[in-house]
């Protein structure tokens, strides 16, 4: 892949906006594309100036945070300017009494959490890479973690957003109070827009009191069917867990550090072969007093095989959150799919994964938020028989074809060579023509992330 020749004056013009030291040659590769220049503006005004310049010169801009999800999406057409938000890293306002915080887009989630932690508060939000990921990047990619079951996602607690639209207009939506219906809900539009509409410069959140005590009950079930039945029982019970996570037996191998995964390609003829485990685990995390925990223990009953608390509990949930990246650390060529289904279609999605993976020489592993239907699926390649690029495309289509109506499945990670052969985003029930209209309204010259997102 090559990048387009840049007019030689570009770095000078960018330096005039942000200062010499903040324009650099960055060789970070995004799906095989190397950005020509990297620029780190310090304010929304500087970002607006950069975007206006890009509009004048038809430059393609890729906004970036801390590079935790930059590989998600289609192959960019080209990247002339990598726009880094790392200098917008301030906590601009935090009043613990009001339970609201407003931050710059470049700040890391971990830094926000530690500021909130001083007042026993938190964002109940635990996406992958929660130590390094930036708030702007997490918003742009609508990242989520296991706590989504109990607290919802970013869309449920982001109460205000500031951004610079693709054409270079500084704008905002929402505000700093927890209840607000003035004007259109631009937070919803920006969350999950993958930097294709605007560069997010900051956001306001409502925050929550941190639970004083939590406990995780790990329940073991002997089959998927039993696990789903038990999940239904938990959902019908009076319990109000903050996480309800279903974990397949192969996914379990990645929930430790380092993973002790059995290499799918490992073949030792002299070793007796044991039948694959059919165990599924349901991890139920609850917060509350000793009385509440005792009640949960009683309600959950005999399937509980382990109780986690303290450090081992937080470690467990960070592994769950980081699952897809633990898989990728071990299998560079794995394919990760986010499937969104109804609560009752979780079983059908798991079966679709099983069938399509095996048909195309992958091993299946999955976990997910089964109280809401947000699943993370891994297709693990066999090292002895590495899949060809087309195989990913075929496997993804076969998987999608097996999904019940209304489910959507986006491929968040796969080798870039495969991305040429299929649409990583997949189908969506939401009207695509309107999405394109929204894109045109905010970024008419398509200077932002051209080629990456669905629009």
């Amino acid at each position: 892949m090559t990048t387009l020749a840049i007019p030689t004056s570009l770095d000078r013009d960018l330096a005039a906006i942000v200062g010499d030291t903040h324009v650099t040659q960055d060789h970070t590769e995004i799906n095989g594309i190397t950005p020509a220049l990297s620029v780190s503006p310090a304010s929304p005004e500087e970002i607006a100036a950069i975007l206006r310049l890009a509009n004048e010169r038809d430059l393609v801009v890729a906004p970036s945070g801390e590079f935790t999800r930059q590989q998600v999406g289609g192959i960019p057409e080209r990247i002339d300017v990598l726009l880094r938000t790392e200098r917008l890293n301030q906590i601009r306002n935090y009043d613990p009494g009001d339970l609201t915080v407003s931050v710059g887009a470049g700040i890391r989630l971990a830094d926000v959490q530690s500021a909130l932690g001083e007042h026993q508060q938190w964002l109940p939000y635990d996406p992958p890479h929660q130590k390094t990921a930036s708030i702007g990047g997490l918003l742009a990619t609508a990242a989520f973690g296991p706590l989504k079951s109990g607290f919802g996602g970013l869309r449920d607690f982001c109460i205000g957003i500031q951004f610079v639209s693709g054409e270079g207009t500084i704008a905002k939506g929402g505000g700093r109070v927890v209840k607000n219906v003035a004007g259109y809900d631009l937070m919803k539009l920006m969350i999950g827009s993958y930097g294709s509409l605007a560069v997010i410069t900051g956001a306001n959140f409502k925050v929550f009191p941190r639970p004083r005590q939590t406990r995780t009950f790990v329940c073991s079930l002997s089959s998927l069917k039993d696990a789903i039945a038990f999940r239904n029982q938990v959902l019908r019970s009076p319990l109000t867990p903050i996480c309800v996570e279903l974990v397949s037996s192969r996914a379990l191998e990645y929930l430790c550090d380092p993973p002790v995964a059995h290499d799918p390609g490992e073949y030792v003829p002299t070793k007796p072969v044991s039948a694959p485990s059919t165990e599924w685990q349901l991890a139920v995390r609850v917060s509350g007093s000793d009385n509440v925990l005792a009640r949960c223990r009683k309600e959950l009953g005999s399937p509980v095989v382990r109780e986690l608390e303290g450090d081992s509990e937080s470690e467990f949930w960070s592994w769950v959150s980081q699952f897809e990246f633990s898989v990728l650390d071990r299998h560079r060529n794995a394919m990760i799919v986010y499937a969104h289904s109804t609560i009752q279609n979780v079983e059908a999605v798991a079966q679709a994964l099983e069938r399509s993976a095996l048909d195309y020489n992958f091993f299946p592993a999955m976990l997910g938020r089964v109280a809401t239907g947000n699943l993370v699926l891994a297709f693990l390649p066999l090292p002895v028989d590495p899949p060809a690029a087309m195989q990913y495309a075929n496997c993804a289509s076969a998987f999608r074809a097996l999904l019940p109506a209304g489910c959507s499945a986006m491929v968040t990670q796969c080798p870039k060579e495969a991305k040429a052969y299929f649409d990583v985003w997949g189908s969506t029930p939401t009207d695509i023509e309107l999405m394109r209209g929204v894109k045109r309204a905010l970024d008419p010259k398509k200077i932002l992330n051209r080629g990456r997102f669905i629009v």
Binding site: G152, A171, R176, K179, G183, R236, R295, C407, L434
Partner: protein, 481 residues
């Protein structure tokens, strides 16, 4: 509206679906707010296809269309000018599907909010957003306004409970946004649509989340001798780490008005009360009720009473939910606001409202969703007295000034509509508003759908309001109100 257009409209919409006589149209000249305007015609939406035909017809003839649910809105969102068509979704009132295993229901826009909870309570579920008008207001209207209610403190407003929409655009195109799944791929246009106050499209089908009924509920009434103590308690509860399901505040004047109207069981000699509801597992509710009681007593509550049974609980809530109606009994006119402030500023704001009340010699009653800082100060005046009318407007502006100075919002749940349109520039820059206009144009390019709402084009001044529409649905046993 000229007769040829009307004839064609009847052909397009169906003869029985159009009202054109003045006496019929007059019933559609108001909503729960203050504006009045008799529309050119009223069309009853029957299904997506018929609405699509009406929209295409209106679009071709450049006739504005104003969608309308039950007309309980408080910001003039459903008011149409005299050449416009009011498109009522009141006849589209079927619950299409109740899907308990997936915790979803699919409804037509005209389904009354409380009717959905009434229909699902037998399965142990309900629809959580509970605006005070929930016996009359429709879910389509709730979607348009992103309605809240007392119980949204813990459970969120309408947008947190809607996952899918079927919408007819002004050009007649029928589109899907989202579905039954919690999330889907691509832009979250479902979330963007909710709260767009009927300016982006007409909803014809809504998929909502259903919420499991809590195992236990405790409703506390904390009674105070000063309003300051009550306000300080709100801050203290928020800081204690407990999020009640609802945390409402009524001041002394207002609770006496309520007591006179409905006998809710409020103490008439108190300076203020907090209505606090806790829900969840019975262990949680027990612990939290004790903790909250302790916080209240620490903040100098005179007494904390707990509703002994469902009847007492319903009575306490009836008082809160009919507060506006009760005020209608004692004052010829009143004006209410919907500002939101940071929660720690509740005491300061109450003091400021007291000062403004004295300054103008106008009674101002306060009923707040205190837990999330959403104020509803009711400014009482006599519209026949021009000085009082002018003063009420000044007082209202002073309160809103104060709210904005605190970094607050002009509306927490009633919407901007036409009523607060001239306040929008105080919260948003020209560029913010232009961005919103550009986005509106994607859906509604000629602004023929609900024109002159939300985003200001001209300055307007508003006052005076009337009683809420009569209830259509009665609550059934066990449904949270």
């Amino acid at each position: 509206m000229n007769s040829s257009i009307l004839r064609q409209l009847k052909k397009v919409a169906g003869k029985d679906a159009v009202l054109d006589r003045l006496e019929d149209r007059r019933l559609y000249e108001y909503d729960g707010g203050i504006d009045r305007s008799v529309p050119g015609a009223v069309v009853f939406g029957l299904n997506a296809e018929q609405i699509s035909r009406v929209m295409r017809f209106a679009n071709a003839n450049k006739i504005p269309v104003v969608p309308r649910g039950a007309g309980t809105g408080l910001s003039g969102g459903a008011i149409a000018e005299k050449e416009a068509i009011v498109l009522s979704t009141a006849r589209m009132n079927k619950i299409l599907e109740i899907d308990i295993p997936n915790q979803r229901a699919v409804v037509q826009p005209g389904v009354v909010n409380l009717e959905l909870s009434n229909a699902t309570v037998k399965y142990g579920f309900y629809y959580a957003p509970d605006p005070s008008s929930q016996k009359a207001c429709t879910i389509g209207g709730n979607v348009a306004e992103n309605s809240g209610g007392p119980h949204t403190l813990a459970l969120g407003v309408t947008v947190n409970h809607v996952t899918g929409l079927e919408v007819v655009l002004p050009n007649g195109r029928i589109v899907e946004l989202g579905g039954k799944t919690q999330d889907c791929c691509g832009l979250d246009l479902t979330g963007f649509f909710v709260g767009s106050e009927g300016t982006l499209g007409v909803t014809t089908e809504i998929t909502v989340r259903l919420t499991k009924l809590p195992e236990a509920v405790a409703t506390l009434l904390a009674i105070y001798d000063t309003v300051e103590d009550a306000a300080n308690t709100v801050v203290a509860i928020t800081q204690s780490g407990i999020t009640p399901a609802a945390l409402e505040m009524l001041d002394g004047w207002l609770l006496r008005a309520v007591e006179a109207a409905v006998h809710a069981g409020y103490p008439e000699d108190a300076a203020g009360v907090l209505l606090i509801e806790l829900e969840g597992m019975k262990e949680v509710v027990k612990e939290q009720a004790e903790a909250v009681r302790a916080v209240c007593m620490q903040q100098k509550a005179r007494d904390v009473k707990r509703a002994k049974d469902e009847a007492q609980r319903q009575a306490l809530w009836l008082g809160r939910k009919t507060a506006f109606g009760a005020v209608g009994r004692v004052s010829p006119s009143y004006y209410t606001q919907d500002g939101v402030i940071p929660r720690t500023k509740v005491p300061a704001t109450l003091a400021e409202i007291g000062r403004i009340s004295q300054k103008y010699g106008l009674q101002i009653g306060n009923v707040f969703h205190a837990g999330d800082g959403n104020l509803h100060p009711l400014i009482l005046f006599d519209a026949r007295d021009p000085k009082q009318t002018a003063d009420s407007r000044k007082a209202s502006h002073e309160i809103m000034d104060f709210v904005l100075k605190l970094g607050g919002s002009i509306t927490g749940e009633h919407g901007v509509g036409s009523e607060k349109i001239d306040l929008m520039p105080f919260m948003f820059t020209e560029d913010d508003l232009n961005t919103m206009v550009r986005l509106r144009n994607v859906f509604n390019p000629d602004s023929l759908l609900n024109p002159h709402k939300i985003i200001p084009e001209t300055r307007m001044c508003r006052e005076i309001t009337g009683p809420l529409p009569k209830a259509k649905v009665e609550p059934v046993q066990g449904v949270p109100v």
